[in-house]
């Protein structure tokens, strides 16, 4: 098959979480100056929307790039069960020592999913923190 047969498939999920932007090596004043209201010590929160994109050639037998039900189960077990209705700073291993910006959350989600997805499929994660703020990783 040629490159022309590659298809992108997407699965959209969502999770609701609290967080604060905080650099532990900085003073409270510096955190407040850099991160503003996003550094509120009592946290704030978002409805995150997650779009997982896979690119590959449809399987000759199934016609699927990947069975999206299986992808949905992987996202739920690998990402949503860890992050949904949680405090990203306090309740997750990934952000104990990493600032939970949208950028870092996207990188973490990519790294959680990558080993669970066939290596021949390209993976890209798009994460909406609000309707107006979103990030993508990796940059393809």
């Amino acid at each position: 098959m040629s490159m022309n047969n590659k298809v992108a498939v997407y699965r959209k999920e969502h999770f609701n979480a609290a967080h604060r932007l905080f650099n532990a090596t900085w003073s409270d004043a510096t955190n407040a100056a850099v991160f503003g209201k996003c550094s509120n010590p009592n946290y704030h929160g978002h409805n995150y929307e997650l779009i997982v994109k896979l690119v590959g050639e449809p399987d000759a037998n199934t016609g699927y790039v990947m069975d999206l039900k299986i992808l949905s189960d992987i996202i739920r077990e690998t990402v949503l069960d860890k992050f949904d209705h949680k405090n990203l700073n306090l309740d997750t291993e990934a952000f104990k020592h990493l600032n939970p910006t949208a950028e870092n959350i996207a990188i973490v989600i990519y790294n959680l999913l990558r080993p669970k997805i066939k290596p021949e499929l390209e993976l890209q994660v798009r994460l909406y923190e609000t309707e107006r703020n979103f990030v993508e990783y990796p940059v393809l």
């Binding site: 609701n16 609290a18 946290y43 704030h44 609000t130």
Partner: protein, 136 residues
């Protein structure tokens, strides 16, 4: 009679947790929403007022003034805040979407000009869950 709606939004943390109950009972009733360390939402707030347009301006109310009122009385108090800990008008209440909508009504209603009535507070907690409060 004409109705005018302004849409605002805010991002906040909260939890559903009744301090008069045990942790087990809170978990049973509120499930994941009772997570002790909070979770959060992007809230969308629709404020609808009603009345007769002023014959001189054609306005029910100057929407710039309505925007400032909502910002001062509501958004500045709740945006990027913890609803349980940081918000004066939610102290002592359960931070459900229902109670938050009613609290927002109480924040706005006394500050509207006399010829304008508050009609509805519509509050989206997620894209799929919202409540409406009409003041009765």
């Amino acid at each position: 009679m004409v109705y005018l709606t302004r849409l605002e939004h805010f991002n906040a943390a909260h939890k559903l947790y009744n301090p008069g109950w045990s942790k087990e009972q809170n978990d049973m009733v509120f499930g994941v929403c009772a997570n002790e360390n909070w979770h959060g939402h992007n809230y969308d707030l629709y404020v609808t007022i009603k009345g007769e347009p002023n014959p001189d301006t054609g306005f029910l109310m100057d929407v710039k003034k309505l925007k400032i009122l909502i910002k001062e009385q509501v958004i500045n108090k709740v945006d990027h805040k913890n609803l349980n800990l940081d918000v004066d008008f939610m102290q002592g209440k359960m931070c459900s979407t229902e109670n938050l909508a009613m609290g927002i009504w109480q924040q706005l209603q006394p500050h509207l000009p006399p010829q304008v009535s508050l009609h509805c507070i519509k509050l989206y907690e997620t894209a799929r869950i919202y409540v409406e409060y009409f003041g009765d």
